[in-house]
Symmetry: C2
Subunit: 379 residues, 2 copies
């Protein structure tokens, strides 16, 4: 009984890199076409649309070196249900359990992309929101964990006074007893607003929002009410679906900084997982992050310069109607590296310096002003 599924005929492609000989790669690619869709013995599939169109299609296999091939597999856009969770499931759900397969990039037609509003602000929107037209944005983090809400607020005040644009929570600040979420967000938001009155600037405080299920949503709304100016969200912890909801919720309406916590497992191994480009670039943007934070090369983490450039590329290159977003390289950055980072990332970048602002010298306010001076200084 051939079923007619009224499919649009539009398909999206996933470019996988697969290890093995040409024959092995072809066999694995065929398995992926089945595994990611019908997950059913091929011989028993009904004739018609399921067999012909729901099962993935191998579009191309290209050798890219010894025992490495790039394989383009296309899927009917309807398999995604036009939802982010299921889209990610089709891209890599069960295949994540197979070694030697890596998602390199995703190519989506307009008919699929239009299901995803993406970033509410994007680069231009964030610039307007913060009143910064051209230069890179300055960002830092409130830490260490263990400080009280008042101590964090004092820190935020100094950082805002020093000319930082975005002051985010360290991603380890949740709702711990030493600085409970509501108290911390109220104090830090107020401190930043007080500093703004002194400086005439538009610094914003971005609390880290996490928690069990819809507690994340509750905290995001609370943050907005308490005067936060942006949100820090780690989709590896709370899910890309929650991030998408926060980005589209009219009652929140704040820029979102995407944090990479826990997502490293996907990208770290060169022969498995999801590439830096796809997970920190494409998926973050698709889910509505206005900036994607990632460890810059040459810092505490082992991301390569090439991987970082790929993230920045995915953040900015054309992607349907989705706004370009800021790359936010971080992870052990120092003031000394600001000129280099501008050369590599250009002006549309958020420079996130955390601990490095404190180690520069004992006067945090002076360090912030030096950071600002460096960034306002023409290259």
């Amino acid at each position: 009984m051939p079923a007619s599924l009224e499919l649009s005929g539009h398909r999206f492609q996933v470019i996988y890199r697969i290890c093995g000989t040409s024959d092995e790669v072809r066999a694995r690619a065929r398995e992926i076409c089945i595994e990611q869709t019908v997950e059913f013995p091929e011989a028993l599939l009904p004739d018609g649309d399921i067999r012909n169109h729901i099962v993935g299609h191998i579009e191309a296999i290209t050798s890219i070196g010894e025992s490495q091939h790039e394989v383009a597999i296309s899927y009917a856009i309807e398999t995604s249900g036009f939802e982010l969770t299921q889209l990610i499931n089709v891209i890599f759900g069960n295949t994540s359990m197979q070694p030697g397969v890596r998602v390199e990039r995703i190519v989506m037609p307009e008919t699929l992309l239009q299901a995803f509003p993406g970033p509410r602000f994007g680069c231009m929107g964030v610039r307007t929101y913060l009143g910064v037209t051209r230069r890179p944005l300055l960002c830092t983090a409130l830490k260490p964990m263990g400080l009280s809400a008042d101590e964090l607020a004092n820190l935020a005040y100094t950082l805002a006074l020093g000319g930082i644009d975005i002051i985010k929570d360290d991603h380890g600040l949740a709702d711990q007893p030493f600085a409970p979420f509501g108290e911390r967000v109220a104090r830090c938001s107020e401190a930043v607003q007080r500093a703004n009155q002194m400086t005439g600037l538009k610094c914003v405080y971005a609390p880290n929002v996490s928690g069990r299920g819809d507690e994340t949503l509750r905290r995001a709304h609370l943050a907005r009410q308490l005067g936060a100016g942006a949100l820090l969200i780690a989709p590896g912890l709370v899910s890309f679906g929650i991030m998408q909801q926060l980005a589209t919720d009219e009652g929140i309406g704040l820029p979102i900084l995407g944090h990479p916590a826990l997502l490293g497992s996907f990208a770290v191994h060169p022969d498995h997982g999801i590439s830096h480009y796809a997970i920190f670039g494409q998926l973050m943007r698709l889910a509505g992050a206005d900036a994607t934070i990632f460890p810059n090369y040459g810092g505490r983490f082992a991301f390569s310069r090439e991987a970082c450039k790929a993230i920045a590329q995915a953040a900015s290159e054309p992607m349907g109607c989705l706004r370009p977003i800021f790359p936010a390289p971080a992870g052990g950055m120092t003031l000394e590296r600001v000129p280099e980072m501008r050369t590599v990332y250009g002006e549309d970048v958020i420079l996130l310096i955390g601990g490095g602002l404190h180690t520069r010298g004992p006067d945090l306010l002076a360090n912030c002003r030096e950071f600002r001076r460096l960034v306002e200084h023409a290259l």
Copy 2:
């Protein structure tokens, strides 16, 4: 200014496996103690509780082979904020971006575990709920994707008539146009109940519940209203936090099958990520899954027998007051392997055979009855 944080003194341990020489491992372990907590230059940490107790402690370093060490690091339970998202963040958030570090297991004191209700049913609860006292439970999946709600319901009817205990959606069934969630759940629930009236058995239908943010919660409530008897949840897609909420929500109150989609990336690489034991065993159970589905060794996936046994161990061994849960080995299983699986996993196991039930022969009802006969047959 030494801060007194009124910490309980209770700590949980994460056992990491770290690659490198003894000196490299010690240095990396020290970095993890900082990275997973204060993420701040050590020299600038304030004296007192933050420096002494918030920063992780290296409790032991044990050589376990050439260039491999097991390192036990303890963290103050308060760093977790007693929340699952932040607990996972402390365990592996930023360190996920470092190669050569793998979470082997987590050791939590009662004072931390009691913050997590865990599985609502557990093995015993599910047995009571399904009226099956001793033997392994029989489970299968509705597929392939592309069938209509009516076609899936017809399939469910036959499977229930054949004596299957749990009929789950394939994890790729979301809310696609060919079988929209509400229509599918209504039809399949009704079909299973109709079969139960014929058989006198208590088969349940477990729809796959996903979606953007709190859409997952809405669908779970809808599923309950429409007569679903359990839920299939993939925390890799919707987050462990959402799973925890579904497990504790009094308005839902259904057993939860945890699906491994997307989580493979954590476990597949032997020198990185989170072990099978920790992610498919400990975290699934902590988040409230009543069963953990994983690819059995010797099927379509590359999990080892040892890894599968480790998952089963984590599912059942003592873990504070948390109920033991069912291992549910799957992924290319066949009726022929039932006796072996009973030998390996014992009687407290859910045997999940999907496509294998269809390939056995053309008569699906007969195949189900044979599955049931095999399982009711004493070893």
